[in-house]
Structure formats: C-alpha cells, structure tokens
Symmetry: C2
Subunit: 404 residues, 2 copies
C-alpha cells in the first residue's frame, strides 16, 4: 500500500510512448518506468529514453526484483498473453490495454489472479479514457443494472461521422482515420466490429458477472456499408452507428451483440461523433447515465493506464464480485430483432428466415428488406451475411418506446 511504483513497460509504440510521457511528467504519481521491453531496440523513436533501460529480453524485466508492476501495451495478442500470464504467475501485478487478448483469455486470467494472489487491471482496454470498467465493477456493483450500450470503437465512429456529418465518401474517410492514427494497425479489426466485440465481452464480465466467449456473440461491422444505406438513413433523419450492447431481456436472461444501428436524434449516442466513445448505462433506479470521452489515441489511453497505475499504489484489484452473485442472468440469442438488410446479388429474402417481412424494396441497383428475425438465426446465417454485397443494420425495435 502507498508504495513507490517501479514499472516494467512492455511495448513502446504510440500508446507506450504516451504512457512514458504521462508517467514521467506526473509529479504525484510516485511511479517511474524502470525498464522498457521492445521488439527492436535499434528502432528510432520520437520519445528519447535512456538507452540503458531498453531491452529486448522479457526476462530482464521479470527478473528485476525492483520492478513491482508490469504495464503491457503490446500490439500483438500472442505476445501480450505470454507477458501477462508470466507476470501473474510470478505474482507481479499487471496493467494491460490489450482488449483482444483479455477478451479471449479472461476466465483464465481471473483464475491466475486468484491462484497467485496477483492483480490485473485493464480499464484502458475499453473506451480509452472513459472509466467504464472501474465504474461497472465498483459503482454499478448491484443488481439494478439493466443495460450497457454504446459506441466503443473510435475509428469506425470517426469514419461514420465523416460520412454522415461531413458528407464524405466512405473510403476517403477511412483513409483520413488511418492518417490520424485512430485506426488500429489492422483497420479491419475496427471496421469488422471485432474491436467493439472484445470491449463488449470485457464490459459484460464487469456489468453482469458473466463471461461470454467472443465467438458466441453476433458481430457485424461497417465495411460493406453502401451509398444506398447512407442515403436511406439520411432520408429517415437517422445516422448509422456501430453499436455494441449487452441488455437484460428479462429477470433471468440477457443478450449481447455488435451491429450497425439506425440511431435517431433523440438518442444520447446520436451526438457521439468523430473518434469519441459514448456509453449509456441503464439501471432500475437511476434510469440512464451517459459517459462520453475520447476512446482512441495514445494520450487518452495513457491517462487511463495512469489511473490504473495509481490504483495499484493502494493495492486495488478487481474483485469480480458479480461472478459470485446468486441467479446471474444467462446469455441467450433467443430474442427477436428487426433488421435492415441491403443486398444486390445475394438473394437475402430467400436465404434469411425472417419471421415477418416488414418492407421490401427492389430496384435496378439496390434492394433491401426489413424484417423480424431472431438473433440466433442471424448467427446461423453469418456466412450469407458476410457476402460483400450485403449490409445489415439493426432497427432498435424492442427499444421503440425508450429514449436511449
């Protein structure tokens, strides 16, 4: 408690360098970066550091008895897993920002924390600077919580925002996002919804105490969005946003998915533009709370990592309290959704088992169908929906009477 923190930093890219800058500049952090482990020592870097603290051998960090915290911001899920699990096994606490790795390995990482009495904090993994995980874990630590829904990916939101608010072309907007450094090293990660999915998986553990493996969650991205979809949304005075949500559908069940969604101006997330993230937390007594902030970029992520580092000074760790709750809700895909599906050559009306078809539009260039279908059936039809001429978006139906 209240100890001086000596950090071994893994990764020295955009986020790693920002972490270095923020921690070196924080006069009350009582923390310093003692070693930095990188893949390539010789690589030229914008931030100047004492070369003697650089190493390319992870063991130099793990074996250093003065190091009492690992900060891991490596852009490679495999390497990240090795670093984090090694550190936890050695009883060294870790602060990590690796959402893909955490979303895939969380049950095991929770087990490792318990077994070795160590701690893993990862608020930076979800929504950059917005303290979503910490608040779900500590503050919304009760069974009033009904829903967490939001825009969790900064770069896809930036692109959609350029398209809808600035009338830019999708590809031009994508290029700009990459130039500004909002996109991950592989932009398909953002555009396919995978990045949002990983964050949603982590959020669900802290929201409802249930881990759902990423592959069990229906995830649809924005990369096949078509001019006709943008036009259609504009005509209805809506925006299309990439939305991740986990929702209690009744007392015993919840569902979750990542999908483009038609968002009307009355919703909080309508005004979440550019690289920002916004999360709506809905509960039984407080109705809706909205948290909004920068979701992408080195410095916002670094500020979140600094908060976790500071928390370690006081021995903070996640208790995963909700995982031990009685009557935890169960994950279900047995919920009815209303979706818009655009297509040109794929024969969507005959390939998708709609319960009810609400609208159908056929023309020389574009076709779309709007209909009701269960989430389970959408999952079963993932192959069909992945055709390059198809674009799917959620029309929030069972939220029709709500102002979220």
């Amino acid at each position: 408690m209240n100890q001086q923190i000596s950090i071994g930093l893994f990764g020295f890219g955009t986020v790693g360098q920002s972490v270095y800058k923020v921690i070196s500049g924080a006069k009350n952090a009582h923390a310093q970066i003692s070693r930095i482990c990188v893949r390539n020592i010789a690589k030229p870097r914008a931030v100047a550091v004492d070369p003697s603290i650089l190493t390319d051998n992870p063991d130099d960090v793990f074996a250093d008895p003065s190091i009492n915290l690992i900060v891991e911001v490596v852009d490679d899920a495999e390497a990240s897993y090795r670093i984090v699990s090694t550190a936890l096994r050695r009883g060294i606490p870790v602060v990590s920002g690796s959402k893909a790795m955490i979303a895939r390995h969380l049950p095991e990482l929770i087990e490792l924390q318990r077994e070795y009495g160590s701690a893993l904090l990862y608020d930076a993994s979800s929504c950059g600077s917005i303290p979503v995980i910490r608040n779900l874990e500590e503050y919304y630590d009760n069974d009033l919580l009904l829903e967490v829904k939001g825009i969790l990916n900064g770069s896809s939101n930036y692109i959609l925002s350029r398209v809808f608010d600035h009338n830019e072309d999708y590809n031009a907007a994508l290029e700009k996002a990459q130039k500004l450094g909002f996109a991950e090293s592989d932009p398909t990660f953002d555009l396919s919804g995978m990045d949002s999915l990983f964050k949603l998986v982590i959020i669900t553990v802290h929201a409802l105490g249930v881990y759902v493996a990423p592959e069990r969650v229906f995830t649809y991205g924005i990369s096949t969005i078509h001019d006709a979809d943008i036009r259609y949304a504009r005509e209805k005075r809506m925006k299309i946003k990439l939305v991740a949500q986990v929702v209690k559908v009744d007392d015993s069940n919840f569902t979750m998915f990542v999908m483009p969604e038609f968002v009307s101006p009355s919703k909080y997330i309508y005004s979440v533009d550019n690289e920002y993230n916004g999360v709506v937390i809905r509960g039984e007594c407080y109705d809706r709370q909205f948290m909004f902030g920068k979701g992408a970029g080195g410095l916002p992520t670094a500020s979140s990592i600094l908060s976790d580092v500071m928390a370690r000074r006081y021995g903070y760790s996640y208790e995963y309290k909700k995982m031990s709750y009685i009557d935890r809700p169960r994950y279900t895909t047995d919920v009815m959704l209303r979706v818009y599906v655009h297509y040109s050559t794929t024969d969507i009306p005959s390939l998708l088992p709609f319960e009810v078809v609400r609208e159908q539009f056929i023309s020389a260039d574009d076709n779309y169908v709007i209909g009701d279908i269960s989430l389970g059936q959408l999952m079963a039809a993932r192959q069909v929906l992945s055709a390059p001429d198809v674009f799917l978006a959620n029309i929030p139906m069972f939220f029709l009477d709500r102002d979220d």
Copy 2:
C-alpha cells in the same frame, strides 16, 4: 471485508423511503435495514415497515451492537451533523447524502475519520446518481485534472429548461418543479445556487485536494432572472444555465464559482435538460469527459447510496489522497470574468467597478451592461448584486476558444 451489512437508517422522507425500497429489493446487496430513526414515529408513510424497527431515539441506533453502518438522509443540517459526528466518534462508518452539512464540516469530518479510524462516504451528496465523487477520488487520481464544470442542481435546471425549451413562464415552471418533488424542502436553496455551491465545495476537495469554505465562494442564483434576460439569451441562440465550476487558472492556482452562464449549443452542458445533471471533467491527456444522469429524485439518490453501502462491504473509504499532494493549487479570486448584468433601478454601471465595459443597453424598461470585472470585485459587490432588480450571468470569456 465481505461482511453482512446491518444498517441504522436516519431519515425516512422521500430519499429514506427510496433507500429502504432499494436495499430491501436488492438480492445481492447482503445488506438489511435493522433500525430506522425518525422524528415522528406516528407520521403516516407510503412505505410500510415493521413498526418495531422504528424509533425516535438516536441512541437506540447507536447503542445497537448489531448495526455496523449508519445511512443518514436527514433533511436538517444540524441534526445530520450530530448523527454523523456521533457515529464516526463511535467508530461506526456512515453513508450520508447531506451536502450542506458535509460542505460546511468536511475538514472536521475528515479529521474524525482519521482519529477514530472510521469512514464517511457521500457520493449521493453530489449529482444524485452520477458517480462524480468516486471517480474524482479514484479514477482522476492524478495531477492531469484541469477543470470540473457542470450543472449540479436538478430543480433549478428543470425550471430553466421549462423556460428555454418550452417557453414557459418562470413562476409556472417553479411551481411545476415543486409539484414534481425536484425542489428541496426550501426551494430558495436550489434557486440561490447554494445547493450547487455545497456540491462544488465537496467536488473540489476530491478534484484538487483543497477545501474552500462555502462562504469564500462567489455564488449567484437564478431567482432574479427577468424576461428580458431570457429574451436576450434566445436572441443570441443561447440558453442560460446555472453552472458550478472549479478551474485551474495556471499551474499553481485555481478558481471556483457558481453563476448563471450563457451556454452556446456547441457545449456539452447545453443539452443537459430538465432535472438532469451533467458534469464535464477536463484533463491534460484525455481532454473532456462528460458524465450525465439524473441528479434529483428519491430513487436515483437511493441507487447512489446503495453503491456506497456496497462499497462498505469491501471496507472502502476515501483516502483524500490529493490533500497530501505536493504543490496543491491555491484558491484565488484574482481572475477576470466577463459578465452580463441586467438592472432596472440599481445603478449598476456606477456601482460595479468594471475594468472594461464592453456593451451597454439602456431603455425605458430594461438596462444591461456587459463588462470585464475580477471575481474578487464581484464578491465585494455581493450586496449590490443581491438587489431584486439585478440579474447577473457569466459570459464564458477565458473559455472562448474551447469547446466545453
């Protein structure tokens, strides 16, 4: 740690009854209300409770060895102070929602917590359901924080919202707010800005680690707002909102005040309507974060109290870490503001020592002057400004180039 919580509840009005409902209904709270202390046992109440747990003698609660937490939601600052200080002296932790009492006695209450090794939590005291205190204390626990600014009072915001968004008359809106139960027992408390002030004093302790006594803070309310002011704001496409803020003006100094403010549509707080509260937290790396939620009403406040009760299960207490920071910023009123002052009979231009007068308007019915004046001089002129024909509003000048 992880103990069963047995609660002695003081106060059984709107908030107290909501606390009772929420805690009785929370299946994972591991908490129960064992005794309820009220002023008048015989008073009929909407919520039915076992009469044997009611008492009008505080000692019945303090002397009960099974009670390990006091929840205090008494609507009387004097009584609240007696309850909280007695409990802390006896080593019983307390959850309180009494902002006026806490804002006035915080240094002493911090001392009592230290001396008797007890804990006082009070997230419900500021912004109802929004976890502002907990986040400032735990998550923004570093010196990156530059500003906390927001709408902290639900009922005055409800009234201004009816006036600006629904073209209602000020007095009709006030009446409606009281009918809906948004106003405190004494509405002048809300309208004079005192309620916002008390919250701001508490927020400042957790934001910057500095306690500033309420009487040292310039506070101006909305009760003298005039149709001409509303018209003027509308013409400029702005809204007038009652805004509380604490702002670092440079590395070593901060200022704070509560004042009506002209808010343009590009600001986050512009869209905080009705009884909602909204807080913007600005920092060096993350720029702006915005938290938004219900600030008034029994259930939102009760949900916040439940969060504090749950936190006590894990022995949580505020560390007041920032109070021990080196180079804490100092409170100053030596900052220049630009203000709008409306008047009819009081001779504002000759009574207020403006540095520069920017605009002056004189007519048969209304007059106003816009000018630059230091906060210190506004404080010195409190007497003049309290005349019933005078209304003052801040024109955010030194924020001109910022998008808050």
